[in-house]
């Protein structure tokens, strides 16, 4: 994607907002709300069902009900609705809305005429197929993105990665995911510090060719540091008992509330599937 801004400032802001967002997400995951109290494994499985349902539904009204349910769950989980709407609409659904606009018109989506816009003598025809197709597309995107974001901000990230075991993800992948997650923060801090140092030494006005060289040098340096870090990390793993096979601690516990939630979601999934099938007939 293209961004019209200074790359040094933007890199610092990007790293900072990434770290800030993670702190916010952790804060929400620690609140005592409905979703935070659920077992991460069951929550992950049920949210996958919600997202699959959002992909399967072909009726706009049923999809809107699912989106309303997502917003209600956010409120019940003590998530600030303004924060949640901002977090979910920016960037993917807004981008989807933007790219869906041309699909409204007969030039891109031929069909029955729904409305005609007279633009300086040039008639633009909005078709029924174009309008409802675009509406369904944007609603589907925002609903699935909202469920994915809700899952990630109501669950501690490390627990969410560990919960992947219920999908039979091999332990080696779960271990790599957990380690990768930690390194991302380390690397983000390195980027932020590096660009702050560059800003203080060369300022913000850099010719794009020199800028490209700065970025490439930073990526190369980051890889070199990471590569050298490998040895130290391996020694640290050995000193903690790593013998070639990853061991993931089992510390999740389910309660009656989790099973009740699972039951509710399965019934809802079946109900929505039935309603969807009925709407098609």
């Amino acid at each position: 994607m293209l961004k019209n801004n200074n790359f040094i400032e933007r890199s610092i802001m990007g790293a900072l907002s990434f770290l800030k967002e993670s702190v916010f997400a952790d804060e929400y995951a620690l609140r005592k709300g409905l979703l935070q109290s659920l077992d991460p494994r069951i929550k992950a499985a049920t949210f996958l069902l919600f997202i699959i349902q959002a992909i399967l539904i072909k009726d706009i009204l049923i999809l809107l009900c699912l989106y309303a349910l997502c917003l209600s769950l956010a409120c019940l989980s003590k998530i600030n609705l303004g924060f949640f709407l901002k977090r979910t609409w920016i960037f993917i659904p807004l981008f989807s809305l933007f790219i869906a606009i041309p699909a409204l018109f007969s030039v891109f989506t031929p069909g029955e005429t729904l409305a005609v816009i007279d633009l300086l003598g040039f008639k633009l025809i909005i078709t029924r197929q174009g309008f409802f197709g675009a509406l369904l597309f944007v609603t589907r995107v925002i609903t699935s993105v909202s469920f994915a974001v809700l899952l990630s901000i109501t669950t501690k990230h490390f627990e969410l990665l560990k919960a992947l075991r219920i999908f039979k993800v091999p332990q080696i992948f779960v271990m790599i995911l957990g380690m990768c997650y930690r390194y991302i923060y380390l690397f983000m801090e390195i980027i932020e510090n590096t660009y702050t140092a560059i800003k203080s030494r060369v300022g913000l006005e850099v010719h794009y060719k020199r800028g490209q060289r700065i970025v490439a040098l930073n990526i190369a340096f980051l890889w070199y540091r990471s590569y050298r870090l490998n040895e130290e990390v391996y020694n640290a793993m050995l000193s903690r008992g790593y013998d070639g096979e990853p061991v993931i601690l089992h510390d999740f516990k389910t309660s009656a509330k989790d099973w009740l939630w699972l039951f509710f979601v399965i019934i809802l999934f079946m109900g929505l599937t039935y309603l969807g099938a009925k709407a098609r007939v």
Binding site: I55, F132, T143, V145, S152, Y183, V206, V215, Y224, Y234
Partner: protein
């Protein structure tokens, strides 16, 4: 390049999960066989590196900035199979924790960015840099060409995946259920922006990083490509 949830229909998502399953299995087996025990953390570091490369803003003419995917670079540094695992992990973290790329589209995203991109790029790099010494400038050119070709092939496939949706999933009266644009619009849109802009960003970043590593840490280039 990251396909969000809602753009692809359930059948397309399912097919790409089915395609990726044997690729992930093969990648795990091959990497387990070739990777020395002490290089295990390198996969996690490689995954975090793949994640972070996408966060770098690369300046382009006109005062704008773009992003590189870095898949070919990771393949040159780690080898295509290890890169496939590292990029998959990065894409899963992005989709699951940061909402970047869809959860149902992980199969399709991994096919484009963790399979097609690193493998195409890696073999283009290997073919052009065949028999070249670690400090040869041919390696830098090979890396640039590999980055450009790799990202363009991946973008073309993403365009095809988008463009097939109105054909595969629509109502009786022709209303699209997922991505509303057909092949004639989706493919040129995806391919065009990558051929003209993002392909060059990828090429410049990949080539310059290889050049710096050749100069400052040639052993990394020599040891790479497990």
């Amino acid at each position: 390049m990251h396909i969000p949830d809602g753009y692809l229909g359930p059948a397309t998502c399912g097919i790409f999960y089915a395609i990726m399953l044997p690729i992930w299995t093969a990648a795990s087996r091959i990497v387990k066989k070739t990777l020395k025990a002490r290089q295990v953390p390198l996969l996690a570091i490689g995954a975090a590196f793949s994640f972070v490369i996408m966060m770098f803003n690369v300046p382009i003419p006109g005062g704008s900035t773009g992003h590189a995917v870095g898949g070919v670079l990771v393949a040159i540094l780690l080898g295509p199979w290890a890169a496939s695992i590292a990029i998959t992990v990065a894409l899963v973290v992005q989709a699951l924790l940061f909402g970047d790329g869809g959860i149902t589209a992980i199969g399709a995203n991994c096919f484009n960015m963790a399979f097609v991109l690193p493998f195409t790029g890696y073999y283009v790099y290997k073919a052009i840099s065949y028999n070249a010494s670690a400090d040869s400038s041919r390696r830098m050119l090979a890396a640039g060409a590999a980055g450009y070709i790799g990202i363009n092939v991946a973008a073309f496939l993403a365009g095809v995946e988008f463009g097939l949706q109105p054909l595969l999933c629509h109502t009786a009266n022709g209303q699209a259920l997922y991505c509303p644009y057909g092949l004639k619009i989706a493919v040129p849109a995806m391919a065009g922006e990558h051929l003209l802009i993002f392909g060059w960003v990828e090429a410049v970043v990949t080539a310059l990083v290889v050049k710096y590593l050749q100069k400052e840490a040639p052993e990394v280039i020599e040891e790479g490509g497990m």
